[in-house]
Amino acid sequence: MPELSYLEAIRSGLLAEMRDDPSVYVFGEDVALGGPFGVTQGIAEELGSHRVVNTPISEGTVMGVAIGAALSGLRPVVEIMFVDFITLAMDQLVNHAAKLHYMSGGQLRVPLTVRVQCGVQGNMGAHHSQSLESWFLHVPGLKVVMPSNPADADSLMRDAIRDDNPVLFVEHRGLYFTRAEVPEGGSGRAMDRAAVLRSGTDVTVAAVSRMVAPAREAAEALAAEGISVEVVDLRSLVPLDVETLVNSVRKTSRLIVVHEAVEQGGVGAEVAARVQEQALYYLDSPILRVAAPNAPVPCAPPLENFFVPDKERVVAAVHRTLASQPA
């Protein structure tokens, strides 16, 4: 199995689909040159510049162009350079991409993949560091995936492109250069399913994207204290794999959700609501969230470091949940 960086794995999935299906096109700012991080590097050279379309800085219209192309039988992949700028494309994504299949009574389909990168990395401040994925949970008709590792990045990219619905593929900039083995030809369907990365019996820690790493580190550290943590990588936020979470909670009776997005209205809230609906009586303590403080992302290193949840914060949450007992 080749070892690839997360960034190379995204390209690997994308390129595999583009080679396989001539209707897959890439649209975005600077994409013909590889984009700012090099994800689309070399694709235009291999498959032709007509398949990798550089666009002006017109996010809203470019999203609309891709939706229109999808309605006409192409399978476009749009790159929004930073998720912060998806605000400019919200109308097209929310009012057209998400709704046209439904509003048309099934006459139309929007097989669209939207690549966005998110998260805190490199002191870029509040307009280049946000995690906005939870907004899209509130829009029926959109799917949302967030790979945490190269193998999932490769597989989820393939799944997203093959899906007949608009899929938001959320990359974390801080993961781009992390490396791991990626099975050739993909590792099978990853969409719709959470992954249990570490089996445990005392606490379930469900994490998203880059927060999977501190969750695993915390589990490792806690094992030395004799605490057994089950780590679940959510991978897909819409649809959410509630079954895997409920099965885990039935075993551990305690749940902590970890994400880099701010706490209020985040994925953790949805996970907590859905899990308690099915597993409240299995729980021994309240479901906790480890998330960013309810603030815009700051720029200065000490502030930014404090903003992002880390291993210590996960460990503290595990101690807190274990100390909490039913009255």
Partner: protein
Amino acid sequence: MNFDTAWKAGIQGRSGAENMKAAKQGSAKPATRHDDSSELLSLLRHMWVIRAFEEKVSALYAAREIVGLLHLGIGQEAVAVGVCGLLDTDDLVYGGHRSHGHAIAKGADPNRLMAELAGRFTGYCRGKGGSMHIVAAEAGFVTASGVVGGTVPLALGAAFAAREKGAGRVAVVFFGDGAGQTGPFHESLNIASLWQLPVIFVCENNGYAEFTPLSAHTKVERLAQHANTYGIPGATVDGNDILAVRKAMGRAVDNARAGKGPTFVECLTYRLRGHYEGDPGKYRELSQLADWKKKDPIARFTRVLKRRRAASAGDFEKAESDARALVDAAAEFALSSPWPEPEETATQVCA
């Protein structure tokens, strides 16, 4: 010409798929050409279908048989028919919130369209879309939208795909003067020009963006001036003169099919009804309305045809009475159709 096929399909009750198949039998003709008398009469008939359809919708709305937020294009029929009459079924049309006429002109089945407005399961969208979200995919009417200017970028995507497929198809988008002040409108003109896409921008400048005259929204009097800025050929025509619309549109379609890029056609027109049904319309002078009624596109075109002796008095009467009969049948079909079951509410959310 899908036009006559659609007309016959409506009368004979053929399905939309048959309608499309029949339309495909004729190959794409050059859009710029002289019209013979039968073709001209056919244009008049189609304007009458739209007029009769919307008058029926207005009456059904007043009778509470149709609910919702309805925007009628009565008075603007020459644009819809002038534009769509030059397109084939495979050419893709996008509309806006005032698009019943565009869909009919493109060949949508009046029965299924009326059923959609009435919220019935037999409607094009099973009642999930409604007046502002019409989709008649089989006729090449891709979608309307409740967002002003929202479909302009979508049409670029259709044009991009058409160009990549190399089938000589064109995309057309209808929008109003109000869309001319949105960001995506300007971004779209820029991209269409930059990529030389086979898209035709049809601006129905009816002088009012909702309740406010154009002069209160922009210093730019003619929307076609924007086309000039972005290097797109543009023309402003009398939108109540169907032959003027058809002439400008013919050039635009020929250019787009020949790979010569986009065109902007601004059609000056006027809606004879309010912004929406129920709009008291206090922002407009009655004298202005009266002036525009004199320029009614159907009456005007009828006068032209009479002058040219293109049809008999009986033909003119029949054009209207056939249209009204067709629309009465559509209303009956719609109102006798079943409502969607409540269980349908959360179906088709994902493909």
